[in-house]
């Protein structure tokens, strides 16, 4: 290798780094994303008391009905939950989606009050007061949403609030096809 070429080494290093940074910025790479190991696996255990008085407790059977099901963890103290709430209302009313809502670290009266005020999109509602079920589901906070297919396999895991784009791009096709 001639010496001249060696002088280009710093420049080449710079170009390599600039390329990496540009890719990081443009490709929408999110270094804060922790991913999810749940996708492709059977849904974790579900064994919760019902949020609404008089409802039956929530069990695994709810997720193996043959129908695609949405599981949403929420809390009345969570602002992003407020932002995504109208989307769930629409999914429930217009699409007849089966949505399981789980109030996470929330007093039942607070969660019920929140639903009474904003509307209740949940066919089934459970209470995870101590966050143990959340931990089993690999939850990092609220809101988080899981799409479970008819055989009880997790197909999608959204961390953070769902958006209009998630609904049209992922959730609606999932509900129609049962598979992404």
């Amino acid at each position: 290798m001639s010496r001249r070429v060696l002088f280009l080494l710093p420049l080449a290093t710079l170009a390599l780094m600039a390329g990496f940074f540009a890719w990081s910025l443009m490709a929408g790479r999110d270094p804060a994303s922790i991913g999810s190991v749940m996708v492709g696996r059977p849904a974790p255990r579900l064994d919760l008391r019902a949020l609404r008085n008089g409802d039956k407790p929530l069990s695994d059977a709810l997720l193996r009905t043959g129908k695609p099901t949405i599981v949403n963890f929420f809390a009345s103290w969570c602002t992003p939950c407020l932002a995504e709430h109208p989307l769930f209302m629409r999914l429930a009313q217009r699409e007849g989606a089966v949505i399981v809502g789980i109030a996470w670290k929330n007093k039942p009266e607070d969660a019920l009050g929140w639903l009474a005020k904003l509307g209740d999109p949940f066919l089934y509602a459970g209470l995870d007061f101590d966050g143990k079920t959340g931990l089993d589901w690999g939850l990092s906070g609220v809101p988080e949403t899981y799409l479970i297919d008819g055989n009880g396999i997790v197909r999608f895991h959204f961390r953070g609030p769902i958006t209009e784009r998630d609904v049209t791009g992922v959730i609606l096709p999932f509900l129609k096809g049962g598979k992404p």
């Binding site: 991913g35 190991v37 143990k132 959340g134 931990l135 089993d136 589901w137 990092s140």
Partner: protein, 150 residues
């Protein structure tokens, strides 16, 4: 001076501020010790780069409690780590596992060091291999002297 030394000594006594609350701790000091060791190598999932023992986040507290529950139930340390990895993936391990996806992470720096060291060694050897320069001729010495102004 003495005051400064005393102040410094007191500063050395300060303990790191863990987020582990007294109410969370196990009664058995041996188990609690293991829980601390595990907690310091588990990464909080909402705070980029803090261990669950350092973090005051809700999820971190749940994870600390789960670690203690598992240990109290008789799990080994490895089983507790597996429990967390099954839920949050390798992300929760502050020390990433050695596997195909992490090869660059583990071997990148040592390989770079090896390459740099061998490059330096090679140049040094090559330099030594070149013969010493011949002494200056009288003509060159005169020219050097005139250049230096002597």
């Amino acid at each position: 001076m003495r005051r400064v030394v005393i102040l410094l000594l007191i500063a050395l006594l300060a303990l790191p501020a863990w987020a582990v609350e007294p109410s969370e701790m196990l009664k058995d000091p041996a188990l609690e010790g293991r829980a601390r060791e595990i907690g310091q190598s588990l990464r909080c999932v909402v705070c980029q780069n803090q261990s669950i023992d350092d973090s005051a986040a809700e999820v971190a507290r749940d994870m600390r409690r789960a670690v203690r529950d598992r240990l109290s139930a008789g799990d080994s340390d490895a089983q507790v780590f597996d429990f967390m990895v099954a839920r949050y993936g390798d992300y929760v391990l502050l020390k990433p596992p050695f596997k195909l996806g992490t090869l660059v992470l583990w071997l990148g720096a040592p390989i770079l060091l090896l390459v740099a060291a061998s490059a330096i060694m090679l140049t040094a050897l090559r330099r030594r291999a070149t013969a010493p320069l011949p002494p200056l001729s009288d003509e060159e010495r005169d020219r050097l002297r005139s250049l230096l102004g002597r």
